[in-house]
Point group: C2
Amino acid sequence: MKIIGKALFTTNGWDIIKNSYDVQQSITEGSNFMVGNGYLGYRGTFAEDRSEHYQGCIVTDTWDKADGKWEELTTVPNALFVQVKIQNQWLKQNDTVKSFQRVLNVINGMTKREVVYLLKDGLEIKITEEKFASYTHKHVIAMRYQVKTNKACDLKLISGIDSKVWSINGEHLKNHNYFNMNGDCGVHAEATQADHHIWVVEKNMFSVDTEKQSYDQDGIFGHLHEIKLSADESFVLNKFMLVMTSNDNNTPSSEIKKIYNTLPTYDKLLETHEKAWLKIWQTYDIKINGNIVDQVALRFNIYHAIIATPTHKSLPIGARGLSCQAYQGAAFWDQEIYNLPMYLYSNPSIAKNILLYRYKTLSGAKRKAKKHGYEGAFYSWISGKTGDELCPDFFFKDVITNRPIRNHFNVWQIHISPDIAYAVDQYYQLTKDTEFIESYGAEMVFEIARFIVSRVDFKPRRNRYEIVRVQGPDEYHENIDNNSYTNYMTKHAISIAIKYLDILDPLTIKTIKQKIDLAADEITLWLDVNEKLYLPQPNNHNVLEQFDDYFKLESIVPASKVTERLIDAEEYYGWPNGITVYTQCNKQADVVQLLSLFPKLFNDQTVMSNYRYYEPRTLHFSSLSPTTHAIVAARLGLIDEAYNKFRKAVMIDLLNTNEAVSGGTFIGGMHTANNGASWQMVVQGFMGLMHHEGKFHLNPQLPISWDSVSFELILYGHRYSFKTTKTQLYITKLSENDTDIEFVVQGETYCFQQEVTIHLR
Amino acid sequence: MKIIGKALFTTNGWDIIKNSYDVQQSITEGSNFMVGNGYLGYRGTFAEDRSEHYQGCIVTDTWDKADGKWEELTTVPNALFVQVKIQNQWLKQNDTVKSFQRVLNVINGMTKREVVYLLKDGLEIKITEEKFASYTHKHVIAMRYQVKTNKACDLKLISGIDSKVWSINGEHLKNHNYFNMNGDCGVHAEATQADHHIWVVEKNMFSVDTEKQSYDQDGIFGHLHEIKLSADESFVLNKFMLVMTSNDNNTPSSEIKKIYNTLPTYDKLLETHEKAWLKIWQTYDIKINGNIVDQVALRFNIYHAIIATPTHKSLPIGARGLSCQAYQGAAFWDQEIYNLPMYLYSNPSIAKNILLYRYKTLSGAKRKAKKHGYEGAFYSWISGKTGDELCPDFFFKDVITNRPIRNHFNVWQIHISPDIAYAVDQYYQLTKDTEFIESYGAEMVFEIARFIVSRVDFKPRRNRYEIVRVQGPDEYHENIDNNSYTNYMTKHAISIAIKYLDILDPLTIKTIKQKIDLAADEITLWLDVNEKLYLPQPNNHNVLEQFDDYFKLESIVPASKVTERLIDAEEYYGWPNGITVYTQCNKQADVVQLLSLFPKLFNDQTVMSNYRYYEPRTLHFSSLSPTTHAIVAARLGLIDEAYNKFRKAVMIDLLNTNEAVSGGTFIGGMHTANNGASWQMVVQGFMGLMHHEGKFHLNPQLPISWDSVSFELILYGHRYSFKTTKTQLYITKLSENDTDIEFVVQGETYCFQQEVTIHLR
């Protein structure tokens, strides 16, 4: 076994093993060891765990605002609740545990526990529990629960539905109605504030006969089973949890019944599930030879990125995936900037689905723009089902005064709209999917351009447009002007709109113009803004100023020194009067983020100057920061530094390095963007992949402990495999095609029929 | 005696009498009972008082930044220090005091104390002390110090210079060099950081012979005198304090010596001083018959407005006058909006001097504009000698965390520049002093227009200019857009610039244009901004929104309820996270301020709606608020309400109603703007005087307890007297002139040769 970190191990680069249990780690481990399938996420808790252990099954498309302030996804009743009573005590993780092991197998999306309790009179009982969220039956989570004792004994077992589940901001279900389904239990409930309903049903399949009776205590509705075991006898309970909501289809109660009645056996379900995962890994896996810890950590992140991504319909990727309700189960810019690239290069149809989500929420973005006095599409900072803004005005609180803080993520972080335009065009460039642009992309980009020109200010005496009062990627500085990231992204977005006007079929353009009532004077203004939008330029030291007057702020290097000024460890660092506000200390990559998205915007020397200036001024307190820095560092050839950032990034969740609470707000759970961006660190960082002017550039530079890296990509619709060692790069065309893709490797251009081997300098 | 307020009395409407002493009131009483002459202010402390009693003599034009943060006027060594020792104890205000009375005589600018101490063995000693800051010898403060005992005794008396004086932010003098002048003492010292020097000299004239020896202890440098007194004998010490700085003239040390050598006797000096005050009161006095308390309170305020105003050269009127160092002895918008009007109507040459101060500081205003990336003249929020910004970035502090607060008075409160343009044009309209406009006013207004057009933003899709990120008169709301006050004032300022271009002699305009290098395209832009600047309009309820989205903020009525949310009584209420920030609670008049300055901007119904909306949402925590509300209420005929505000305003200092410390910053001292604006409440409020389109409108409506009000004004250069009773208004032309000024009284127009009696409705 190879040690990953404190009490974490792997054996084969696919499993995460933990041999000890710490109740303090419930939030983290429940996330790390979770299972999910893009429809729902089931936290890595144990069968007997309840709300105090942060038990939760988070289901997509169930937004509800129970407390009148926070709209978030619903944690539904837990139909996998099982608890054993023996020697008159309920078994749970406590000091009667003799041995314990839990495992997450990312290869097939399965989480397991094996625990042995040593009870009175030498009675040992072993519970083995395994769980997966089916990838073929997305409304189903399956659990195999096995009990074995070393001596004959009588035991009791409750199996049922626990409705007292963990929820962060209020109880999202009301009017629970329990029902019987073929001897199993089900519950129907209504959303507290929203208008949807949910159904949750259990299905129990015992390997032994049990004496059972109804059980209804303390929120658990089910059956109490009495079982007699001989010495060394075991029994198995295969238990299924079925979830359906009225948002999933029009006849949810009959649909769930249908699933109940046609459910395959546990083994059959597992078999198809494993086949699905095999295919998933064929698509996304990155093999690292030489460092099994990096290998498993990377796969762990890719696994979490995948299970966080809804594919059953166009829904957002939550900033914490489906690992908990934090960040409201909603999309941030994370989705396009951190999660999209892996799909863009590995599975464009999923990338398309993500962008279609943005298309489907265009009307919400337009409502938001209008609400704030703008035109076009002002995408929401926190975007749920409809695209309307979910981000509350008061997000954090001042933990010293207990007063809410008016953060302005929802109104000033306008770069979200240009970010989406950037993503649309990235998709277009990598897939050449003109139909998507004609049907959806151009309309989105045009509405974004509309938003932009209604948002910028013209400064008559400077003869330029400026972008005033924004918040850049670095969230600690609100209310800033001419944020370099925002201005460059905005200019890029406008130029995409102008490009689409130019390159798309005139008839199509005419149709879109008619559809969205786009007038000629609007386009004139786009051209003017495109020409006159202020783009900050590097100063005498080659450094781009993060925003107007940033350089006048107090410089603290390294940024971490600023933490000495904290009064309370949970203080929010940013707006309006946190310790970083009047300093150059950044939460995360900002100018470096810009350089990461536009690697050719400046020459290498300038990129280096900026990296060297900003990195020490960055606290990396956002999980979005290490990956971005790793990518830019790797491109600059700073491989050791890039590798350190990589290690930091892939371990954020595994080693629980980031705070679960900030400014009084729960922000725990999986760092889904970082999970997705882990893929980017290897492909776009160490492999140096970038798409520029119709060519794919590569510049492999592996960390010292890695012997080779290999993966597959889909470029312009065609599948290629890549493998690099320290000395050679192998590229193989996997699909039949006549496309002549040009690769530029370490500055040399390669064009080949089937495969190529390139000697690296 | 008529009681004014707690322990305060008057006998004749000219004196403020206090019969008790409370050391807790030292800050307030030192200000209220002060003397001054526009060159210096000497706080109303007693001869033996020292820094712990907030003793201070604040001298104009002595800005120094001792602590590296706050530039403020210097409190110079106290050359009026006298203390008596008898029965081996130093006399001071304590429990040996048998009787006490202090008086401020505003009729001649004199402050007095009479105190009797009852000591051991029935020994009584009476000290009588009177002081005035000479209006004929502005570098001189004179004190008559008289001692009388009921029994024979030996006493000791120190008379000297106390250099350990009160200073708020650091010690502003260093390298004190003491010297002898004809047996009296002097001190020369250098500014700590600035490059000026000061000289302070005492001159002692005893009525008896004394045995004297040098005294130099604990910062007091002077002489110890031994005096033998018989029973019921008294002696007098006439003592003079002479102050001169190197900013006053080029040969300060010989100048001060010259004054020393030619100083008249105390009685002669007093005689000329009293004559000067007689003339002052002929100019400014407002006689109120019927309410002696209102009479004395009003005169008290006018007195303080006068002694705060430098007339010896062009220097600012400090926001606390010369009563202390608070607000840095510097000009705010207070000067033009609250202090100027009394001079405009009563003594235009002083009004001109105030505006010349702004002209002389134009280069500072231009430097400030340039520093912030603008053009033209961005006048400083806190303006001292040079017009450069004195307002520190961090003005208040968060008293809960002890962290400094980044207030933005210095960068966002841009209305200061339009305010000055407004004042320039008010002067022009009331004096028709074209020469001033040609020589100074137009240039100032043009530079202000330049600033404005470099500051506004054009919103292309709204086809209008907006003014973004400002702070209006209500200082609790920073970072707001399209503040109605600011936008209307800005539009007015631009229109003044355009008017001057139109009405001034073309050759003069050409000269000014050349001087300030004003290009044609700039003027084109002025016209465009004048045409397209966004002016918020009253809503369906006739209410003008204070700024964009103000109506969306929490409405708390009455505003005072918001104080329940305080955690610490000294908390700053405003930016960034004070209790009012996300509410409609205002510190002071804002929209109402606009209506006060432009009484004809909207019809009476709209003015009423705005008054009724905003008044209950206003905390009136600025001393600038009650007067403005009183004026607008009086014009609306809400006489009882106006009178209540009047009483509140004229009593702010007398009754010490406002806090001396806010957000950890000392803001005590006289409320100089309110002192000046007290005059306005009567003339522009109850008398309803307004100048509109070449006519003077009057609409007298006296408070119930007033029988009559009378005063003199100078209109278009000609002196008029006004007297109104409840039924009649008398206007008399005092100076010979052929001008036919039209008065509009209660809607009827009057034009007369010598005098007119008008019956009021």
